[in-house]
Symmetry: C2
Subunit: 130 residues, 2 copies
Amino acid sequence: MNPKPLLDALAPDANGLVPAIAQQFDTGEVLMMAWMSRESIEATISTGEAHYWSRSRGKLWRKGETSGQTQRVVDLRIDCDGDTLLLQVDQKGVACHTGRRNCFYRRLGGAGLESFAPVQTDPKQLYQSS
Amino acid sequence: MNPKPLLDALAPDANGLVPAIAQQFDTGEVLMMAWMSRESIEATISTGEAHYWSRSRGKLWRKGETSGQTQRVVDLRIDCDGDTLLLQVDQKGVACHTGRRNCFYRRLGGAGLESFAPVQTDPKQLYQSS
């Protein structure tokens, strides 16, 4: 698929990035938010696997490249202002580096922040050195 | 509810803002993404209505203050890194200023960007001067 129409509509920030929301395509679960560059959008479209831009490492990053927890992209959407993307994906395993299915496992409750989602996979297993 | 536990966990950007994803609580539909400041988080928690920070206008903004398309907040979640919020909301009417239910109405297809969601409410009706 030609990425140009999407890139033409893109309104990135001063760092050339846009927030990208990853949502499990069939359940609607919001899995995570990460950042995409033009390069990561092109890599995502050409491979069908979600690629992001790691701001901490300053490099292109294929989701799951270390952990194996990849995201197959089912649909790629852009918002009205062109400054946010919504990826509908099929998440393999867990999206969060804590081993939880999604990153939004803490909510504000009467007793403070409540962690309500279980760790499904031990992070040591996800990031063991090979 | 006391906002302090959430504010303590918050890792805002250099402008004091975090991206906030608004999701319809019962259907899972991702409605929009906007930005929140500490002030907008406090206003959201104290009123139960979503407040954002308008970067273009440089001011606190209650969602729907002009259009009437308000968001009642059902749940407020924070991600693993503290730098993104997920609001589960009950959206009144339409979330998008174009009059569509959500802002992600364009997808990349073989023929370019495809607009696939109908305008539900004429924006002229949403933003008519009173």
